[in-house]
């Protein structure tokens, strides 16, 4: 059994320690907001926060989460940055198919949690690991800047 805290709640799962965290979240805990896109940390759809740091859960073994705090898109609204990001996403009507957006929101929230005034270069650096096949990148950029203004003002 491996125990960790997911969105503020302690969970114990009976899975091999090398099972990717993604599949524990999805198949064991049915937290389906975290998405499977590539399985090799190339698309960012599976991004979650591990003790506040963004990680690709498809390439993070369960053992790495043991005793730590995992935040997923289902819980990110409880953080100041996450709340501002989700509100901006909704204001800007960012999602199209929406499948990548959980990961985009998790990467954007991590960026704003440490950088309240990201430049375009900061956004490129933080967000270029997240693929969007619908091409919502310009809306994502606008929403991040909007969210940053709100986090800063909060």
């Amino acid at each position: 059994m491996v125990s960790f805290v997911v969105n503020g709640k302690t969970r114990s799962v009976d899975a091999a320690p090398d099972t990717p965290l993604l599949w524990v979240l999805r198949d064991s805990l049915h937290l389906t907001g975290t998405k499977f896109g590539c399985g090799i940390a190339q698309c960012g759809a599976c991004t979650v926060h591990l003790d506040g740091q963004p990680v690709r859960s498809c390439s993070t073994p369960l053992s790495a989460a043991s005793g730590k705090k995992v935040t997923t898109v289902e819980g990110i609204g409880a953080t100041r940055a996450g709340k501002a990001v989700q509100a901006a996403w909704i204001r800007h009507d960012v999602p199209q198919c929406g499948y990548c957006q959980s990961g985009q929101i998790m990467s954007a929230s991590a960026l704003l949690a440490k950088n309240r005034a990201p430049t375009d270069a900061d956004i490129d650096e933080a967000m270029s690991g997240n693929v969007c096949r619908c091409g919502t990148y310009n809306q994502i950029r606008a929403a991040i800047k909007d969210a940053a203004a709100n986090v800063k003002g909060a």
């Binding site: 590539c38 999602p95 929406g98 693929v131 096949r133 990148y137």
Partner: protein, 712 residues
């Protein structure tokens, strides 16, 4: 109150029916003549498929038979209803319809989403459903007030009498449900539209998609469900000749290993165990006829086909007799492409006694019902399709392979089965945009006027590959030549041929904008070559040949104007232009590109102009064009599926590259104001981007891109 219609055939719109909702609402729906007759014979009420429900609490639910894959159809269809209903938009909800012929796409005649047809097909029927409900609500109010219906108007979910009395739709719904729907309701003049064509209406799916709550096919979990992954033949057309599954079965969580036509399936408790089980399989493959298939060989086959020519698709003037003062000739090539939807392909199926239920993000519920009834041996009415959100579609989710695979596995195991494609399976799973080689000749008269254009296209046939279409008697695949056969330029001698070539017998498929995705690159690049040969500006050259094509010219001129065509750019930045008609809309794009010392292009800005007739939601229209630009640009820069020793060389996003945030150009979209009937919008933005960028690269470097991808 529920509003629906009896038939999809536009000539039968009079069959709109109404009925009462349990609890006192109004339902407008469609019923079928056939079922009605049967129902009448049985002395029962006709079965009805709901389009629209108005509940006593004023909630308005629009039931949408189309699949939401990002294109915004779950917002556009409700807007069509809400406009004519004069609904309070804040009370409008959308619900995914079940599979039912009542929801057949009027353009396809089957329940399916694709070809940028949704708004075109439903523009009138859905507005009529809304207008019918509105007329019934007014009649109910007039009856309540003992007033003349002509003295009543509607606004934001209320019927309002000239005296100032008001009743909400919810209050009126029960009474309205008892009335007979009027046969011929008058639709609004577009000048009266409050919602349609106006900016500011938000998508109905944004909140679910910004909070992780939206449910896609992969998000289904059923009690007792097994997750399956399949070991597919490494070479398309290959077969497993022997399987040693001992190590696979030893993996914790693996329950079963079964051989099916698609390959060897490992079924387990969850994806990870299934994947580890698959990795542990020992399979001897017979690679079949494609064991030595290579991209070099494919190119040669296609090139020979283009050189030899084929069936005549268009012939005007006399291309053989034409004697141009200057003649140019070129061979162009486009590769196979995978769709790479963000959500890897999947389907969950549960075959129970005499019935099948599936959960899938599918573009083709209607065809799936028929196919699965055969796969599972049940009557079509016993195939239930739960359409989930699609994590991208782009045509790929029109194909039945995941729904067949999951159903076969559920039938064998007797359990609910979620079949999941890994990203590698998805990339290598064929159903590709066909490769094509096209030879073109162009001729100019002594004054630099275009007088000759010929194209000889060689590519696989999507019509035949689709299994629901056939190559027509003239032998010309419409998808093989679309975008080049319909060359709009006023050139007196014009000739197009098509040579069907099927290297490797590879499964080809519809890919966002289909044949236009390569043919518009060929034509719009070659027209640029001809303009250059004539010593003319590429925009002016096109414009001069579009005298009989006002809507082409309108889009072209708007894009050029908004992009400041002809005005100076920062040093090193160059423009390219292209204009394409596809899926009922005209779209022109200007790309601003610089080329680095290593030859790598950087696209700084794209200015698009689209004439798609009247719009439903102009914000979504702009986003769709931008999305289509990114999709086409990704393919133009990086996209290629290649073969070596019969195997697909690409596998995942590290070697099948996607455009990312740091490569994203600025995109501006301008809509040509129009009162014409709506055109499509999901696809028309894709075709012009590859030639616009390639033409800008030529302007920057003098190097003509004749083979995609640009960074090939």
């Amino acid at each position: 109150m529920i509003v629906g219609a009896k038939q999809v055939n536009t000539s039968r719109r009079e069959f709109l029916k109404s009925s009462a909702m349990a609890g006192g609402g109004l339902i407008i729906g469609f019923t079928f003549p056939g079922t009605t007759r049967l129902a009448q014979a049985a002395g029962k009420e006709a079965r009805m498929s709901a389009y629209l429900r108005i509940a006593p609490n004023n909630d308005i639910t629009v039931v949408c038979g189309l699949s939401e894959m990002g294109q915004g159809v779950h917002t556009a269809i409700p807007m069509l209803v809400a406009e004519e209903l004069d609904a309070d938009w804040s009370r409008v909800r959308v619900e995914q319809a079940p599979v039912d012929q009542a929801f057949a796409n009027p353009i396809f005649g089957m329940q399916a989403t694709g070809g940028s047809t949704s708004v075109r097909g439903h523009w009138e029927p859905m507005r009529k459903a809304g207008a019918t409900a509105r007329a019934m609500l007014i009649a109910a109010a007039a009856d309540t007030w003992k007033a003349d219906a002509a003295d009543c108007r509607t606004e934001k979910g209320m019927v309002i009498h000239k005296s100032g009395k008001k009743l909400s739709y919810g209050r009126l719904a029960e009474k309205a449900a008892k009335l007979t729907p009027p046969k011929d309701v008058k639709l609004k003049d577009p000048a009266q539209f409050n919602l349609l064509g106006k900016s500011g209406t938000k998508r109905l799916d944004t909140v679910a998609k910004s909070t992780g709550k939206a449910k896609y096919g992969l998000d289904i979990y059923l009690p007792g469900m097994l997750t399956a992954v399949i070991a597919y033949p490494p070479v398309p057309g290959g077969k497993a000749v022997s399987v040693n599954d001992a190590k696979a079965k030893a993996v914790r969580g693996v329950r079963q290993v079964v051989q099916i036509p698609a390959g060897v399936a490992v079924l387990a408790d969850g994806y990870w165990a299934a994947k580890l089980g698959r990795d542990a399989l020992e399979i001897q493959w017979d690679h079949g006829a494609n064991a030595s298939l290579s991209s070099e060989g494919i190119s040669k086959t296609l090139s020979a086909g283009a050189l030899a020519g084929g069936a005549v698709g268009r012939n005007e003037g006399d291309f053989k007799a034409a004697k141009p003062a200057k003649r140019i000739e070129a061979e162009y090539e486009a590769p196979y492409l995978a769709h790479s939807c963000m959500e890897p392909l999947n389907c969950t199926a549960w075959v129970r006694k005499g019935e099948v239920e599936i959960w899938a993000g599918t573009q083709s519920q209607g065809p799936a019902q028929g196919i699965l009834s055969q796969v599972a041996g049940v009557v079509p009415a016993k195939v239930k399709v739960n359409t989930m959100y699609l994590g991208g579609g782009f045509g790929r989710r029109f194909a039945p392979d995941p729904v067949i695979g999951a159903t076969v596995l559920s039938k064998i195991t007797g359990k609910p089965v979620k079949l999941v494609y890994s990203r590698e399976d998805d990339t290598r799973g064929t159903f590709y945009r066909p490769a094509s080689v096209t030879r073109m000749t162009g001729g100019l008269d002594a004054n630099g006027g275009a007088m000759l254009f010929t194209a000889s296209v060689a590519s696989p046939s999507i019509m035949e590959g689709s299994h629901f279409m056939k190559l027509p008697p003239d032998g010309v695949d419409e998808f093989g030549v679309e975008g080049i056969r319909d060359c709009p330029y006023d050139i007196p001698n014009l000739h197009v041929e098509y040579s069907r070539q099927e290297p490797g017998g590879l499964q080809v498929w519809f890919w966002r904008s289909v044949g236009h995705s390569q043919n518009s690159f060929f034509l719009e690049s070659f027209i640029d070559e001809l303009a250059h040969e004539a010593g003319k500006d590429p925009f002016e050259f096109r414009r001069s040949l579009l005298g009989k094509q006002p809507r082409y010219r309108g889009a072209l001129e708007l894009a050029a104007e908004k992009a400041d065509w002809g005005k100076p750019l920062p040093s090193g930045v160059h423009r390219g232009i292209a204009v394409v008609f596809s899926f009922g809309s005209w779209c022109a794009e200007v790309a601003e590109v610089s080329v680095g010392p290593d030859g790598t292009p950087k696209v700084h800005r794209v200015v698009a102009a689209v004439d798609c007739g009247m719009t439903v939601n102009p914000d979504i229209v702009k986003r769709q064009i931008e999305s289509a630009v990114v999709y086409g640009l990704t393919a133009a820069l990086y996209g290629k599926i290649t073969f070596k020793d019969g195997r697909v060389e690409q596998s995942n996003f590290h070697d099948y590259r996607m455009l990312r945030m740091n490569e994203m150009p600025k995109v501006e979209v301008h809509i040509v104001p129009s009162r014409e009937a709506p055109g499509g919008i999901g696809e028309p933005g894709t075709p012009p981007i590859a030639p616009a960028v390639a033409n800008a690269i030529f302007a920057a470097t003098g190097k003509r891109i004749r083979k995609l991808p640009i960074l090939g």
